[in-house]
C-alpha cells in the first residue's frame, strides 16, 4: 500500500468534525457544487464529464446489439462499469477490478436499474433475437472523494442524453446515424454520507472518506421514492439512517435540478 495520507491529517479532520467544522468550510449537510460537460466524446452515444471539488469523473455510453436473455426475450439491458484509473490517485493501480470498483459500479447500477428508470422492453429490437445493451462506463480522472455520487450524476447524465443508433437490414449499427434517444421514466440520484467523530457529513472529500468511521449511500428519485441503499464500512443507528435518507432526498433534488438544466441547454 502506497499511501500519502498522513495520520496527522486524518485526526485533524476528526477533531474539526467534533467541533462542527469541515476542512473546506462546508456545512455538514452541504454538498459540493459541480460543473457538468456533455457530449465531448464523439465516438460515444453520450458522454458526461463532472467536476465536483477535486473529484473528476467521465462517463460514456456505447449501445451494442446482442441476443436477449432467454428469461426476458422482449427486453434489452443495461450494464454499468466503474474504473478508478491509476491516473486518478497514487493509491490506485491498473489491473483487474478492485473490490471498490466493483462495489461502486454495482451501487450506481442498482440505483438506476432498480428504480425502473428504463423500460427495458423499449430496448428490444426483435423478440427473442436481438436487443440493445446500453453499456455505461465511468472513469475516475481525479479522485477527490465521493466517486459514488460523481459516478451517479455523470451516469444519469449519460443515460439522459444517450442516442440510439440506426440499424441496417442486418441489424448492424450504421455509424453516426441515430434513430432516437433513450427514455427515462424517473431520475434516480445517489447521495453519499460519512460519519466522522460521530457526525454525519454529506458528500465527503477524499480525506474525509479516509477519516470516516462509516459510510452510507441512498438513491432517490424525482417522484419521491428511494431506489437503492448501501451501507459501506462501519455502523449507523436507525436515527442516523433516517436522517441521511431525508437529507438524501434534498441533496438529490438540488443536483437533479442542476443536471436537468445542463441537459436541456
Amino acid at each position: 500500500m502506497r499511501t500519502t495520507v498522513l495520520e496527522y491529517d486524518l485526526s485533524k479532520i476528526v477533531e474539526l468534525a467534533r467541533q462542527g467544522k469541515r476542512v473546506d468550510g462546508r456545512a455538514f449537510e452541504e454538498a459540493r457544487d459541480f460543473t457538468l460537460e456533455l457530449g465531448m466524446c464523439k465516438n460515444a452515444e453520450s458522454s458526461a464529464r463532472i467536476i465536483m471539488g477535486e473529484t473528476q469523473v467521465i462517463a460514456g455510453i456505447k449501445m451494442g446489439v446482442d441476443k436477449p436473455y432467454p428469461d426476458n426475450p422482449d427486453e434489452g439491458a443495461i450494464s454499468c462499469g466503474a474504473e478508478l484509473l491509476a491516473l486518478a490517485h497514487s493509491e490506485y493501480e491498473a489491473g483487474p477490478p478492485s473490490l471498490d470498483e466493483i462495489e461502486i459500479a454495482r451501487v450506481v447500477d442498482r440505483g438506476i436499474r432498480e428504480s425502473k428508470a428504463i423500460d427495458f422492453t423499449k430496448l428490444c429490437i426483435k423478440e427473442g433475437e436481438s436487443c440493445w445493451i446500453a453499456f455505461m462506463d465511468f472513469y475516475a480522472i481525479n479522485s477527490g472523494g465521493n466517486l459514488f455520487d460523481a459516478g451517479s450524476i455523470a451516469g444519469l447524465a449519460a443515460f439522459l442524453t444517450a442516442k440510439i443508433p440506426k440499424l441496417d437490414e442486418n441489424n448492424k449499427i450504421i455509424k453516426h446515424e441515430y434513430q432516437g434517444k433513450l427514455e427515462l421514466k424517473r431520475l434516480p440520484l445517489l447521495t453519499t454520507f460519512v460519519k466522522i467523530g460521530g457526525q454525519i457529513l454529506v458528500d465527503p472529500t477524499y480525506l474525509e472518506e479516509k477519516a470516516s468511521e462509516a459510510r452510507f449511500s441512498v438513491a432517490t428519485t424525482d417522484d419521491g421514492l428511494m431506489s437503492a441503499m448501501q451501507k459501506g464500512p462501519g455502523s449507523f443507528t436507525l436515527e442516523e439512517i433516517n436522517k441521511m435518507i431525508d437529507l438524501g432526498f434534498k441533496v438529490a433534488d438540488e443536483r437533479r435540478k442542476k443536471l436537468l438544466k445542463e441537459v436541456k441547454e
Binding site: M1, D71, N72, E75, P97, L99, I102, E103, A105, R106, R110, E114, S115, K116, F120, F216, V218, T221, G224, L225, M226, S227, A228, M229, Q230, K231, G232, P233, G234, S235, F236, T237, L238, I241, N242, I245, D246, F249
Partner: protein, 279 residues
C-alpha cells in the same frame, strides 16, 4: 427482476398470508449448528428455509502478504462463494462481481462486531459457502459467520444478527423467499444489527420504496433480528453448555490442544494465532 405484472399473482393485502403460508413477519425455519468443521478455528452450518450454508473462521493469523498488515487492528476478510449447484441455473465456478461485493459488505458488517484492535497485523479469514439457496443467502451467511466467529472464541462486542426485510405483492414482509424477491413490486433489503446496541451493520436496498414504508420495514427488521439472535445464542449454548462431566472432558482436551498450539507458536513466530476463549 423484470418488474412486469404476472397473471394470477398473489395479493398479500387480500390473502392475509404469503405464498408459502407464512405470516408477514414470520421467518422461515432456521437452524444453526456450530463446530461442524473440525479443521476450522470456528465454524457453523445453517439451514434457513431452503438456504444451506457453511461458515468457517481461520485466525487471527498473520496477515499475508506483509503489506496488507494493519498495525492497529485485525483485517476481517470474508470470502462468499456459491456452489455451482446451489442455484436453479448452474453457477460458473469462478467468483463473479456479485460474490465479490457480498464478500465486501459482509466483512464490513462483521468488522463492527469484533474487537479487532486486540489483534494487530493479523487477519481473521471467514469463508462462507452456499450449497443451496432461495433468496437471502447473504444474510444466512452473515448469521452463520457470526456464530462461527463466536465458536472460534474471537472476542466480540456482540453477535451479528441478519435477515432480509422488504416488500412484495403489496405488503411489507420479513425474510423474502425467491417468489417474493421476483415480485413485480419487490424491494429486498439485507439488514443486520448488533442486537445489544441496535447498531445497523448491514444495509442494502434494491427496488422502489417510500420513506414511510422503510420506517415500517426497519421495525420489522429489528424484531426479526432479535428472534435470530436467540437462535444463534441457543446454537452456541448447545455446543458449550453441557453436563459438568462432558464440560470437564472438553476442558481437558482444550488444554492439551492449546498446549500444542503454544509450542507451535514458539517454533514459528509467523503464526499470530490467538488463544481461544470459549464461552
Amino acid at each position: 427482476m423484470s418488474g412486469r405484472v404476472r397473471e394470477n399473482m398473489p395479493d398479500y393485502k387480500k390473502d392475509k398470508k404469503r405464498v408459502d403460508g407464512r405470516k408477514m413477519d414470520e421467518l422461515r425455519p432456521l437452524s444453526i449448528k456450530v463446530g461442524v468443521i473440525p479443521n476450522a478455528d470456528g465454524s457453523a452450518y445453517l439451514e434457513w428455509g431452503q438456504n444451506k450454508v457453511y461458515a468457517a473462521v481461520y485466525g487471527p493469523r498473520e496477515a499475508l502478504p506483509k503489506h496488507t498488515q494493519n498495525p492497529l487492528k485485525a483485517n476481517i476478510k470474508v470470502t462468499y462463494r456459491m456452489a455451482t449447484f446451489s442455484v436453479p441455473e448452474r453457477k460458473q465456478p469462478r467468483p463473479n462481481r456479485r460474490d465479490m461485493e457480498i464478500s465486501k459488505v459482509l466483512g464490513e458488517a462483521l468488522d463492527k462486531a469484533v474487537f479487532t484492535e486486540q489483534f494487530p497485523n493479523t487477519e481473521i479469514a471467514v469463508f462462507v459457502e452456499v450449497i443451496d439457496s432461495n433468496a437471502g443467502s447473504r444474510v444466512a451467511c452473515l448469521t452463520a459467520a457470526s456464530c462461527a466467529m463466536a465458536d472460534a472464541g474471537i472476542p466480540m462486542k456482540d453477535m451479528v444478527a441478519a435477515t432480509g426485510v422488504g416488500k412484495a405483492f403489496g405488503e411489507l414482509i420479513v425474510d423474502l423467499n425467491k417468489d417474493e424477491e421476483d415480485a413485480f413490486d419487490a424491494v429486498d433489503i439485507p439488514f443486520a444489527i448488533l442486537p445489544n446496541t441496535k447498531e445497523i451493520v448491514l444495509l442494502q436496498m434494491d427496488g422502489l420504496l417510500k420513506k414511510s414504508e422503510w420506517s415500517e420495514i426497519a421495525k420489522l427488521g429489528y424484531v426479526a433480528c432479535e428472534k435470530i439472535y436467540e437462535i444463534q445464542k441457543k446454537a452456541l449454548s448447545e455446543k458449550y453448555q453441557l453436563s459438568e462431566v462432558s464440560q470437564k472432558l472438553i476442558e481437558d482436551k482444550s488444554v492439551s490442544k492449546s498446549g500444542e498450539k503454544d509450542s507451535a507458536k514458539i517454533k514459528k513466530e509467523s503464526k499470530g494465532k490467538a488463544k481461544k476463549v470459549r464461552k
